[in-house]
Amino acid sequence: MHELAVCQEMLSLVSRIAAERGATRIDRIVVIIGPLSGVEIPLLQRAFSVARAGTPAANAALEPEICGVRVRCRKCGATSGASVSNLTCGRCGNWRVDVQQGDEMLLKTVELSGMADGAGQQAVATQSPTVH
C-alpha cells in the first residue's frame, strides 16, 4: 500500500504550488497514472481521502487520467499497444522495445482558489519553471 506514501508526496507538492501562487485552497488535482507506474488508482483514491485532511486540499477532488501502454519496437519500428505483463512488440513479437507510454506517475494540473485579486497573474510573471 505505497499509494499512501505517493499521496503524501503529492499533497506536499500541491501544497507548495498553492503557497507559491498565493492560494489558500486546492479544489481539484489532476494526475496521469500509467499501468506500469505501480500505482493502483482505487487505492490512490482511498489513500487520498485520508491523507488530504488538514491540508489545503482537504476538500479537493482527485481526478486520475489513465493512459494505456504503448511500446515501440527497436527491430521493426512498429508502435503497438501492450499489456503490463507482456511488453513485446504487437507486430513482430520482439522484446527489444521502448515504452512510449504507460509508466506515468505525473501531476498534471492543480486548480486553486482563495487567491487575492491579481495574485495569479503576478504569480505567472514571477514563477520559476516547475517542470522537471
Partner: protein, 271 residues
C-alpha cells in the same frame, strides 16, 4: 534536473509539457496551474542528492529487491565471504521490525545499518539518506541496500542507487516476473536464488524465467546461483567487480529505467 529526478515523461505525453508551466483563470476566479511533474518529486530530489554522494565517493550503490524469504540476506552473507578481500562493503538493511538482518551482516565483519520502517512497505530516499549518516562512504567500494521484502512497493521509489538487482528464488515459480511486472521491469540484473534446490523441484524452469523477464522488454542478465554453494557465485561476483570497474573507469551508472527517461529528455531538450 531531469537527469536525476527519474520522472516519467514519455513521447506519449511529452506534448503536454510546457517549458514554464502555465496558469489559467476560469470565469469563477479560480486558477488552474499546469504542472506536469513527477508525483514523487520530493523523493526523487532526495534520491538525486544520495546518488550525487555515491558518485562523489566512487561507491557503487545497489538496490536489492525481492519478495520476503527469497534469500537476500543469505546472498549478502555468502557474497561478503566470497568476494575479493580488497573490496570494502557495507549494507543498509530495510525491514519492518528487528535488527536481526543487520546483526547477521555485522557478524561477517561488515558495517550494517538497520532501517526499521514500522509499517512502511518500502524504503525511500529519505530513509536511505538518514542511514548514510552512519556510514563512512570514503571507506567503501560497494554499498548494498537491502530493500524491504516486497515485490510491489519498492519498485516505485528511487533511492539514489546505481543499479537494481532483483532476486527470484526458485521456490517462488518461474512466472513471478509476469505476476510482478513493474518491479522486474526495473531490474538491471536478475538473480535466480536457491538454485541448489532445482534438483528437487520439477516446476521451475530457468529458461521460462528468463523468457518472462524478456517479455517485460528487459534484457537484463539472469544469473542462477545459490548462497549455499560458493562455486555458483562466480558470475555474480564477476558482475559486481566489472560493474564497479566500469564506474571507476568513468561510466555514469544509472538504473536502466532512468537511462530510458534521460534519453527521452535528451530528445526533449533539442526539440
Amino acid at each position: 534536473m531531469c537527469e536525476t529526478c527519474g520522472c516519467t515523461i514519455t513521447p506519449g505525453n511529452k506534448h503536454l509539457v510546457s517549458a514554464t508551466g502555465t496558469l489559467r483563470h476560469t470565469a469563477d476566479g479560480k486558477a488552474t496551474v499546469d504542472v506536469l511533474t513527477g508525483l514523487l518529486h520530493e523523493n526523487n530530489h532526495q534520491a538525486a542528492h544520495n546518488r550525487d554522494h555515491f558518485d562523489r565517493h566512487d561507491v557503487l550503490a545497489i538496490n536489492l529487491m525481492s519478495s520476503p524469504g527469497s534469500g537476500k540476506t543469505s546472498l549478502l552473507e555468502a557474497t561478503i565471504r566470497a568476494i575479493s578481500p580488497g573490496l570494502r562493503i557495507a549494507v543498509i538493511e530495510g525491514d519492518l521490525e528487528t535488527e536481526n538482518d543487520a546483526e547477521r551482516i555485522r557478524a561477517e565483519g561488515v558495517p550494517a545499518v538497520q532501517i526499521t520502517t514500522g509499517q512502511a512497505c518500502h524504503l525511500d530516499a529519505h530513509m536511505v539518506h538518514d542511514a548514510l549518516h552512519e556510514l563512512k562512504l570514503d571507506d567503501l567500494d560497494i554499498l548494498f541496500i537491502e530493500n524491504v521484502g516486497n515485490l510491489v512497493c519498492p519498485a516505485s521509489f528511487d533511492l539514489g542507487h546505481h543499479v537494481n538487482v532483483a532476486l527470484l528464488s526458485v521456490t517462488e515459480g518461474d512466472d513471478k516476473p509476469a505476476k510482478y511486472p513493474v518491479l522486474f521491469r526495473t531490474a538491471d540484473l536478475v538473480l535466480l536464488s536457491k538454485c541448489d534446490l532445482l534438483d528437487v523441484l520439477d516446476d521451475f524452469d530457468p529458461t521460462a524465467a528468463v523468457q518472462h523477464v524478456r517479455s517485460l522488454g528487459n534484457g537484463a542478465d539472469v544469473l542462477p546461483l545459490s548462497a549455499r554453494r560458493a562455486d555458483t557465485l562466480r558470475p555474480w561476483l564477476t558482475w559486481l567487480e566489472s560493474t564497479l570497474a566500469a564506474m571507476r573507469a568513468g561510466e555514469k551508472l544509472r538504473p536502466r529505467m532512468q537511462t530510458a527517461s534521460l534519453a527521452l529528455h535528451g530528445t526533449e531538450a533539442t526539440a
